[in-house]
Each structure stands twice: as structure tokens, then as C-alpha cells.
């Protein structure tokens, strides 16, 4: 069977499962559509959160980012998992107790203000739409590589499948397809990793392999990797970072951004009890952890594999690493997987010094004494995970599995985001403001229509990604961190913060964060409109625009508290509402009055 047929079988088979689940789990009420009827088991929910959370970025890009950045990019590992601790302790149980369908609904009720709800809707839509573009684009890439269709056709196929299970089944359909998608993506991610770990370290468990000895040379894997990359002019893989403030703030932004992203929060509304919301956060992190503990191993092993593919003499016990580094392979002898990926343009070679060999090293280091005239091989970070099975010479079905896994990661996250967007429109905008008397049937129809519109918009933007697509994901975390997270947390932990304070807080956090990003990235990301060049020496106190969300959150807290202190305290019934979300037991019990 050809590789194409195998890929088609795996992708087609997984899609058939998702559609089957969608037909089985059709939503009959708004409760089904928004919160899957509210009866999801915490372990099931944990798995669904895992698939919801782990996007094309986690599945495809993260290991490549870590491979390129080494220790410095550990921020993604800690940031994208640490947020679950915040969710479990500061948000999820109380928002579950509140017992409504959407995040803006809590903000609107707690701060007794339609304007607050509207601000939350806007933040939610901007954060979710920017995020969903990346998912659709990721699905397009996976399709074009594995199914040999062009990216736009691939995208339309993906959109039709998502339409089926998300529009028909709502949260109910999404939850159960996400469980299936989690299983597909985690199997696809770990199998090649296990083989690569065995090959490099003789240890079948990648997280342990990362800290084991490299089989061929006998020295620890990370020591070996450090020696190899420094001989090619790169920084040590495990090198420490000078700008610790920025590293701390970037990690913090990712953590509170994670906790503030509405598509994750609404998943906690689907479990029956408050205690289940806490347990599901734990299970979610277990399921996410399986991938996040494997990713750093994949990263370092792929980096080493890539270097020793080009410089085979570096692999074994090397006396003189500098000398081994002078002897790269001939371009005509390159392995098959480099040829395959060259066709996609994600790997490219240019023989700058016309010696027929592949010089692959850090351009900014000077190796003219070796007769090198620049780096000749450019490798897109995103291919490391996708090319892993080919690099490790694994059978064709593993490649088919990776294709299905990458699509599962992209589609499950896209569906979760689309649900957050459609519920904000049908429940918060239409039922909450425009037409409060809408019937349940009418609202369900409105939810389905807004979901369909959201899919069309996301597909269009995925096919024609704006030039700033890579930067907007940072924007999503910045917005969630600076606007939604502080408002939600203060809504639960403070009785004193009132409507004016919350709105002023959200707006100042949001405006500050956006302004700082736009100053360096261009206003509304229009190229050339940035006021300062986006380089570390221009950043205020060395804080990168990607790390600014945490500062925006601090500003949000400070402004909200200051303004609430000098304005009227919230009415009695709001203070009782705050009391009631704090205790799992029925609201009447909690307050004495």
C-alpha cells in the first residue's frame, strides 16, 4: 500500500469516528449545546480539556521551538501547564458553582453591568478568533503534506468535518469527539518518540531518555548535544538565560493567559459537581502532561538527530568535535526524508560555497577558516515532529498516525474555540442584550448559525492568513491575561470590587497591553507602523511585547481596586452572589442575613 493510501486510511478513519460520534451526540437543548447537558465525568472532561488545549501549536510547533531555543524556551512548557494550577484553585470550582453557560455571563452578573459583559465578549472574541486562525492554518498544512491536496482544499475538508460535529452536537458532540481526538493525538505523538528514545538512549521512556546516556557515544545525551551544537557555533542547549525578568514575565503571561482563555474555562461548566471541576483540572493536566513531558525529549533528540544526520562523524565517540564538524555529508547523499520535505519548501538547501556539501551551522559565528560561506540548510522548526517517524525510519503507518494526530490536535482546539465564540454571540449578545425574550429553540438556532458563520470566517482567514498570524497567538494570551483573568479572579475573591472598578480595570489592562505590543509590532500589526524596533535593547526594562500581558494584569488589578475603593460598594445581593460561589453547597446556606 502506498504512503498516500495509508495516510488517507488513517485520516479518513479518524474523521469517520468523529462524525459517527457527532450523530450519536446530537444536542437537543441549549444546555446540551453549551455545557454538554452538564453530566460529563471528570476523567472524560479531563481528556476533552487535554484535546481542547493541545492545539496545532502544542502538537506541531512546541517541540520545534524548544529544539531551537533549548532551556530558554522551557517557558512554553511551564507556562502552558502552570495555568492549570491557577484554574483549579482560583477559577474553575467557583465558576462551576455559579452554574451559567459562558464566561461573559459571570462577568456581567457579578459586576451587575451589561457594559462589563460586552467588554468581556469583545475580549473573548478577539482572543478566540486570533487563536482559531492558527488552528485552521495548521490543519491546512497537515492536509497538504500528507494528503497531497492543496492547503485550501484541505482546509475546506477540515471545515466541513468540524461543521458536522460542532454545529450538530455543540458542546456535547465536541466533548466526545475531543476524547477520541485526545487518544489519536497522544498515541501519534508518543509512538515515534518512544522509538527515537530507544534508538538514541536505549530507554523506551522519552522523559527518562532525555536525562540518560547517549547510546552511541556513552556520554549523557544533553552533554553530547551541548558539545555538538557549540561546535557548530550555537549556544549551549542548556545555557542559562541572562534576562531573567523577561523569562519570568513571559512564563507568567502564558500561565495567567492559559487560565483566562474562555474556551478552556467553559469546559469546566460541563461536569456535574464543584468537586468534579477540581478533579477534572487534575486529570486534564495528567493528560496534557503526557505530551508536555514527551515534548522536551523529542526536542533535544530531534535536534541531535538533525545535526548528526548532516555531520555523521559527530555521532559516535568523538576525540575532536571541531574536526568532526568540518565534514558534513554530500548533498547528493542526503537521506530520503530530507528529499520528501524539500518538496514542501519547509527544508531548503543552497550551496553557497559550491562544494556539494551541506554546511549547517549558526550563521552569526565566523567559520571562514573552514571554508564556509554561510549556513546552507534552512529547516522550518515545525517539521521536527511531523518528520520524526521518517527520521527514525519508522514504518508507514506511523506516518499516517502522525497525520491523523496533527489534524486531531488542530480540529479539537478549533472546535472548542468556535463553541466559545458562538456561545458568546448567541447567549451573551443575542439573548443577553438584543433579544432577551428569545425562545430556547430560537437561541439554539442562533447558536448554530453563529457557529456556522464563525467556521466560514475562520476557514477564510486560515486560507488567507494575515501576515501577522504568528504574532496574534501571543496577542491572544496577552488579552486573556490582562483582561479576563483578573476580572474573573477579583469577581470571586473580592466582594469590594464593583462595576466601575472592574470595567476600568479590564479596559486599562487591555489598552496598556495592546499599546505595548503595537509600539513594537506595528499598530494593528500593520507593517512599518511600529514606533520602536522590536529588539531587546529597545524594550522597557528588557520586557518583550510577548511578556507584557502579566504587567497588564497587574495594572488591571491595581486600577480595579483603586477605583472600587473610592466608589460605591457593590449592592447586597451581589455580595451574596460572591458568597454563594465560594461554597459548593446551595446558595441559601452560605449567607446569614
Amino acid at each position: 500500500m502506498s504512503q498516500f493510501a495509508i495516510n488517507l486510511l488513517f485520516v479518513g478513519g479518524s474523521f469517520a469516528i468523529y462524525i459517527g460520534i457527532a450523530i450519536w451526540a446530537k444536542a437537543g437543548s441549549t444546555k446540551d449545546f453549551y455545557v454538554a447537558g452538564g453530566g460529563v465525568h471528570p476523567v472524560t472532561n479531563g481528556m476533552a480539556i487535554g484535546a481542547d488545549w493541545m492545539s496545532a501549536a502544542s502538537f506541531i510547533s512546541m517541540a520545534g521551538l524548544i529544539a531551537a531555543g533549548g532551556y530558554a524556551n522551557s517557558t512554553f512548557l511551564m507556562g502552558w501547564t502552570g495555568g492549570y494550577v491557577l484554574l483549579a484553585m482560583l477559577l474553575a470550582p467557583y465558576l462551576r458553582k455559579f452554574g451559567k453557560f459562558t464566561v461573559p455571563e459571570f462577568i456581567g452578573d457579578r459586576f451587575y453591568s451589561k457594559q462589563a459583559r460586552l467588554v468581556a465578549v469583545i475580549c473573548l472574541i478577539v482572543a478566540s478568533v486570533t487563536y482559531v486562525i492558527g488552528q485552521m492554518a495548521g490543519a491546512g498544512v497537515a492536509f497538504s503534506r500528507f494528503l497531497e491536496v492543496d492547503a485550501t482544499t484541505g482546509l475546506i475538508i477540515a471545515a466541513v468535518v468540524v461543521f458536522f460535529y460542532a454545529v450538530l452536537g455543540g458542546m456535547k458532540g465536541i466533548t466526545y469527539t475531543q476524547v477520541a481526538q485526545y487518544i489519536v493525538l497522544i498515541v501519534a505523538y508518543t509512538i515515534p518518540a518512544v522509538f527515537i528514545s530507544l534508538e538514541l538512549t536505549n530507554n523506551p521512556l522519552p522523559p527518562l531518555g532525555l536525562f540518560s546516556d547517549h547510546a552511541e557515544s556513552g556520554v549523557p545525551l544533553l552533554t553530547k548535544l551541548n558539545e555538538v551544537v557549540t561546535a557548530l557555533g550555537f549556544n549551549e542547549y542548556t545555557a542559562d538565560v541572562d534576562n531573567k525578568l523577561n523569562m519570568v514575565l513571559f512564563t507568567l503571561t502564558l500561565m495567567i493567559g492559559t487560565a483566562g482563555l474562555p474556551h478552556v474555562i467553559i469546559r469546566f461548566f460541563t461536569v456535574p459537581k464543584v468537586a468534579d471541576a477540581r478533579w477534572s483540572a487534575g486529570w486534564a493536566l495528567v493528560f496534557i502532561g503526557l505530551l508536555y513531558l514527551t515534548a522536551p525529549a523529542v526536542a533535544s533528540m530531534a535536534r541531535l538527530n538533525l545535526a548528526t544526520t548532516v555531520y555523521p562523524e559527530m555521532a559516535g565517540q568523538v576525540e575532536n568535535m571541531e574536526e568532526a564538524a568540518t565534514n558534513p555529508i554530500l548533498y547528493e547523499n542526503r537521506p530520503e526524508w530530507i528529499r520528501t520535505w524539500e518538496e514542501t519548501g519547509l527544508i531548503s538547501f543552497e550551496d553557497l560555497n559550491d562544494d556539494g556539501r551541506i554546511q549547517f551551522y549558526n550563521d552569526s559565528a565566523d567559520f571562514t577558516d573552514r571554508g564556509w560561506e554561510g549556513n546552507e540548510l534552512s529547516v522550518n522548526n515545525d517539521i521536527l515532529v511531523l518528520a520524526n517517524p521518517e527520521i527514525a525510519n519508522l514504518p508507514g503507518w506511523v506516518i499516517g498516525l502522525i497525520a491523523a494526530g496533527g489534524l486531531a490536535a488542530a480540529l479539537s482546539t478549533a472546535a472548542g474555540l468556535l463553541l466559545a465564540i458562538s456561545s458568546a454571540i448567541s447567549h451573551d449578545l443575542i439573548k443577553g442584550s438584543i433579544n432577551p425574550n428569545i425562545s430556547e429553540k430560537g437561541e439554539l438556532l442562533a447558536a448554530r448559525i453563529s457557529m456556522s458563520v464563525a467556521i466560514v470566517v475562520a476557514t477564510y482567514l486560515g486560507a488567507n492568513p494575515p501576515g501577522f498570524a504568528a504574532q496574534v497567538v501571543a496577542l491572544a494570551f496577552g488579552i486573556a491575561a490582562a483582561s479576563l483573568f483578573p476580572a474573573l479572579m477579583m469577581g470571586i475573591f473580592s466582594k469590594r470590587v464593583n462595576n466601575v472598578g472592574a470595567i476600568a480595570g479590564m479596559l486599562s489592562g487591555l489598552v496598556f497591553t495592546l499599546a505595548y505590543i503595537f509600539v513594537y509590532k506595528g499598530w494593528f500589526f500593520i507593517p512599518g507602523t511600529n514606533n520602536l524596533p522590536d529588539t531587546p535593547d529597545n524594550w522597557v526594562m528588557g520586557i518583550s511585547p510577548l511578556s507584557i500581558g502579566a504587567v497588564g494584569a497587574l495594572i488591571n488589578f491595581a486600577v480595579a481596586f483603586a477605583i472600587s475603593r473610592v466608589t460605591q460598594e457593590p449592592p447586597q445581593e451581589i455580595q451574596e452572589l460572591v458568597e454563594s460561589v465560594r461554597y459548593p453547597k446551595g446558595a441559601g446556606m452560605a449567607v446569614d442575613h
Partner: protein
Amino acid sequence: MADDKSNATAYWKANLRLITGCMIVWAFVSYGCAILFRPLLSGIPVGGTDLGFWFAQQGSILTFIVLIFFYAWKMNRLDKQFGLGE
């Protein structure tokens, strides 16, 4: 009803204490061991590198998982103890 109120207040205080403790551990492993104190831990070797690197790429994630389950378990006990569970 006054008893209910003081009971509820005590429950909330116990929850806040628990959260504070967990948050200290949360910050200590990630911002502390993995980032700020990494130079101080550089003397402790772990598989070809140092303890700070391990915390950054594995240790903090493992700690986060344990923390959430610990919190969920403790809170279930508090819910029962104060009679405020569902």
C-alpha cells in the same frame, strides 16, 4: 444562622490558607528553581545537566500535577468537615 455564617467564614479562610500554600510551592518550583535560583542549583548534576534545567523541563510539570490533586483531595475533606459539600 450566625453559626452558619462563622462556619462558612472558617471554611473560606481554610481554603485561602490552602491556596496560599499551594501557590507558594507553584511559584517556588517554576519561577524559583527553574528560573531565578537556577545558578544556585547548578552544582547539583542531573543527567548531563543541572537541577534547574530539570525543573524547567520536567520537575515543575510533575509538581503542578501533584499540587492540583492534593488541593482537590484537601478541599473534598474541607467540604465534608464544614458540611458545605454538595
